[in-house]
């Protein structure tokens, strides 16, 4: 009888400890995947987080470098082995949610995220009515870097091309990418968005690509592809002899190195009077679904911390990532940044990048490759319209049935 009592008492104590643990924090392992550039920064911030939240001080956090482009694929391939927190770009959101690899943002945190970040970023982390990730940056957009000594008027595409041709330099624009391509389509006034339900399934397509505006955009791309100065590309690391390049903030250091004193940045140019548009993009931090409630609490708290105002400010200072937090955006340091200023100017002509089916990106590459391969050079307006109709119909075929 005594024995039984002892066992019962032990069990009660254990139970008590377990319930205590869930209320009092978490001290197990936790893994984070972030881009190479911010691994050290994230490590520092995790330490700061532990100091600020003693209940999580015993936590064993490992930070590993996994690029934002690969994270989603790696998480989906093996959810069990994936990191508990991982950074990714918003085009991967729907894919992650449909694969069941993202936990919803804790309701309390969701309110804060909504209040503190810009509308585009909030829209990008939301599917249907549910918020699935914490926005980190609002700098995943593209604009024009140019060489002041080559390009005299960065506001008009034809002028840029003429300047580059004259100087024997190249103008880089990655028109075979579904991401950069939208600069033309959206700028010309077309629309291509997908509606998702709460589970990340794409249920409806809103497209006006097969229209006069679409043909206008396609013609502008064909015209661009014919210029001898045109090069398909968007990265300083592979560009040879660039005069101007359409690229993002992640390449600002490379741009400064390449152009030296002639380094300049501006919004995208106009084409025949209309302004090029495109996507505004965001980086975000996701939490993996957890089987342990205490660990989930730790993940929520850490993710909220890493996306908070102070950390976004610190992140900008450390690695130059453009913040999504509105207060940080208004700070003097961010306001004075040439690349971020150009991006900010461009962002007013863009739409926040929503969710697109994975197949869209390769389809858009197909369209761009066909343009570069000169398949459409001889087509009249009706022929181009047929191309866009095929494009649209194929896109619609990607909807979740």
């Amino acid at each position: 009888m005594k024995k039984l009592l002892a066992i019962l008492l032990c069990a009660a104590m254990l139970l008590g400890m377990v319930s205590l643990a869930s209320a009092e924090g978490y001290s197990g392992d936790l893994k984070i995947w972030v881009a190479e550039a911010v691994v050290d920064f994230t490590k520092e911030q995790v330490e700061a987080f532990k100091t600020a939240h003693p209940e999580y001080a015993g936590m064993n956090v490992t930070v590993e470098a996994v690029g934002e482009g690969d994270a989603a694929s790696k998480v989906i391939t093996d959810v069990t082995a994936a990191a508990d927190l991982f950074g990714f770009a918003q085009d991967q959101l729907a894919r992650l949610v449909t694969a069941g690899a993202l936990e919803e943002v804790e309701p309390g945190n969701a309110e804060i995220v909504k209040a503190e970040n810009d509308a585009g970023a909030v829209g990008a982390v939301t599917l249907g009515e549910k918020m699935y990730a914490y926005p980190l940056t609002s700098d995943n957009g593209y604009f024009l870097y140019y060489d002041k000594s080559v390009v005299s008027d960065p506001s008009d595409l034809d002028a840029i091309l003429a300047d580059c041709e004259k100087a024997g330099k190249s103008f880089y624009f990655e028109i075979n990418s579904g991401w950069y391509q939208t600069a033309f389509f959206f700028g010309a006034g077309c629309q291509l968005t997908f509606d998702t339900d709460n589970d990340g399934n794409l249920v409806k397509m809103n497209s006006t690509y097969a229209s006069e505006e679409g043909v206008k955009a396609l013609k502008a791309m064909i015209k661009l592809s014919k210029s001898p100065a045109f090069m398909n590309g968007s990265s300083f690391s592979t560009a040879t002899n660039p005069g101007a390049i359409v690229d993002g903030t992640w390449d600002s250091t490379a741009a400064k190195d390449a152009f030296g004193d002639n380094y300049a940045a501006a919004k995208l140019p106009t084409v025949d009077g209309w302004q090029l548009g495109g996507f505004g993009g965001f980086k975000m931090l996701g939490v993996k679904p957890q089987e342990d409630e205490a660990k989930l609490g730790a993940c929520d708290a850490l993710a909220a911390y890493l996306s908070s105002e102070e950390v976004q400010m610190a992140r900008y200072n450390a690695v130059g990532w453009g913040p999504s937090n509105m207060k940080v955006q208004k700070s003097d340091a961010v306001q004075a940044d040439v690349a971020l200023a150009a991006l900010a100017e461009q962002l007013q002509y863009t739409i926040p990048q929503g969710q697109y089916p994975g197949e869209y990106w390769s389809l858009a590459t197909g369209l761009g490759d066909d343009i570069i391969a000169k398949k459409y050079d001889d087509l009249d307006d009706a022929g181009l319209m047929d191309v866009l109709k095929t494009f649209e119909a194929t896109c619609e075929g990607y909807l979740t049935k």
């Binding site: 694929s73 989906i76 391939t77 959810v79 069990t80 894919r95 449909t98 694969a99 069941g100 690899a101 936990e103 919803e104 804790e106 190249s170 075979n176 399934n201 001898p228 090069m231 398909n232 590309g233 592979t238 560009a239 040879t240 002899n241 679904p289 957890q290 089987e291 342990d292 409630e293 989930l296 994975g358 197949e359 390769s362 389809l363 590459t365 197909g366 369209l367 490759d369 066909d370 570069i372 391969a373 000169k374 398949k375 191309v387 095929t390 494009f391 119909a393 194929t394 075929g397 979740t400």
Partner: protein, 498 residues
């Protein structure tokens, strides 16, 4: 037709006859195949029948030790003093039972076997904000298949256990002595040494090769893709749907793209194999020729391409041919062209460029192989040919080429198969680009089946179609191999160069 008549025919007529003969033999061949299959099935059925009959008679005529062995494996062996065998049998049975009826249902063979027909039914759900994972279709399929293997192994061992009882009984009845455990061990080191040696490799091949292949084949019949991703989502059996999607020509299917990619794969394999082969041989002959100076230097220069890893050289070359790469930049600088040549952007240009670059990296290998073989051709053959007044081309056609083909026939075949699956060259040079609106599923104009398969698994997590593609790649290579294998001279005229 007699032999004499056959030899009178002209070359094209002979060829026509042999091709015609192939098709004339085809129906008979198919009929023979069906007959063989029928006989095979009949043999299996008969085998099962005799085994069952044997089980019954053994039970009827056996003593109590034998009969108890039907329930407890190895009992008979132990009772007759063959402890080693008996304990092994019993151990196997214990392990099997523990696996099948493991107390924690999630890890038992029965659990996986029971779910194999549905691949899981319990969905993942939320308990508050906590996630509770349901069935994991992936593990159910994997361990389900493993369990089937295990059951087959168990049935085989059980049968063996009973057979041993019967034989032992017989031996004892006839006054022989049974082998002791010591004898058994000694025999494994002596006349049964092959079993000792092959046990580990066989086990390894089963677990690491056969099981994954079977698993992959089964995945082709499920809907395992991006939207059915364990552990959060279930996947299930869908029959032949995936084959349909890959092969049929509906708008939403990949049929047209598949044919396009398959055709290019075959064209590529043909050129990559034979162009390299003949050019490599040519280079070897040229370097081998009397009077050529600095032979070693020429060979060294060519072999340098092998010394540099393809990862480095191919990526570099790919960049060299880009629109803003070295070649285009210089051609434009010199004023030879006004706009960049579309090496990678135009489908036809890209294909030709790839084949030509592959010649550059392929020739050295062939040159090395050919050099060795060419030196082996008896010089007196050439001498007598020269006396008969044959020119260089005639000598090549009548002496060098037949000899080369005879020796390198199997090599040609394997290199053709290898080129069908030549992932490196394509992926490092073009990644399958350019893409096109006419092609679906992320496939490009220079994609081989194997690189397309890679994109499907890695970029699109479309495992179901990738599995189907894997099966089709196997079918394509198997068919080509079987046909060509029977045609190469090394198999057909085995005695020619003995």
């Amino acid at each position: 037709m007699t032999d004499l008549e056959y030899f009178k025919l002209s070359k094209p007529e002979k060829m026509l006859r042999s091709v015609g003969g192939f098709f004339a033999r085809l129906p008979k061949g198919i009929w023979n195949g069906i007959k063989k299959l029928g006989l095979f099935i009949a043999a299996i059925v008969k085998g099962i029948g005799t085994n069952l009959a044997d089980l019954v008679t053994t039970f009827k005529n056996g003593d109590w030790k034998t009969r108890l062995s039907y329930l407890i494996m190895g009992f008979g062996s132990c009772a007759r003093g063959q402890w080693g065998r008996g304990i092994l049998f019993f151990l196997f049975q214990t392990v099997f039972n523990m696996y099948m009826f493991f107390p924690n249902a999630q890890f038992s063979g029965c659990y996986y076997l029971g779910k194999l027909s549905t691949l899981g039914t319990i969905e993942t759900y939320k308990e508050g904000r906590r996630t509770v994972y349901g069935d994991n279709s992936f593990f159910i399929l994997l361990y389900g298949v493993l369990t089937l293997f295990f059951i087959a192994a168990f049935i085989y061992t059980w049968r063996m256990n009973i057979k041993q009882n019967r034989i032992s009984e017989q031996l004892l009845k006839n006054g022989h002595k049974l082998k002791t455990t010591k004898d058994d061990v000694a025999s494994l080191m002596d006349e049964q040494f092959h079993k000792t040696m092959l046990a580990l490799p066989t086990l390894g091949v089963t677990i690491f090769t056969i099981l994954p292949i079977l698993f992959m084949i089964l995945v082709a019949f499920t809907n395992f893709d991006a939207t059915h991703q364990p552990p959060s989502k279930l996947f299930t059996w869908v029959g032949w749907d995936n084959f349909n999607q890959l092969l049929s020509t509906d708008t939403a299917s990949y049929g047209d793209t598949f044919r396009h990619v398959l055709l290019w794969t075959l064209i590529w394999a043909f050129f990559a194999t034979f162009l390299n082969y003949f050019l490599g041989m040519l280079v070897a002959i040229m370097i081998n020729k009397k009077g050529i100076k600095l032979k070693k230097m020429w060979r060294t220069i060519l072999v340098m391409t092998i010394a540099i890893p393809q990862f480095v050289s191919l990526l570099y070359v790919s960049k060299m041919f880009a629109a803003d790469g070295l070649i285009n930049t210089y051609l434009m600088k010199w004023g030879w062209i006004s706009s960049p040549l579309p090496f990678w952007t135009d489908p036809t240009w890209a294909r030709v460029t790839i084949i030509v670059i592959n010649v550059w990296i392929g020739i050295p290998y062939l040159m090395l192989i050919a050099t060795g073989i060419l030196m082996n051709i008896p010089a007196d053959l050439y001498e007598s040919a020269r006396i008969d007044g044959a020119n260089a081309f005639q000598m090549y056609k009548k002496i060098t080429l037949p000899y080369m083909l005879f020796v390198t026939g199997p090599y040609l075949l394997t290199s053709f198969t290898g080129n069908i699956n030549n992932f490196n060259v394509i992926f490092l040079l073009s990644q399958g680009k350019p893409l096109s609106l006419q092609l679906s599923g992320n496939a490009g104009h220079t994609d081989l089946l194997i690189t397309w398969l890679y994109k499907m698994t890695v970029n699109d997590t479309n495992y179901k179609l990738a599995a189907v593609m894997g099966i089709l790649v196997f079918v394509v290579t198997a068919v080509i191999n079987l046909i060509v294998y029977n045609m190469i001279p090394s198999v057909k005229n085995e005695e020619d160069f003995q």
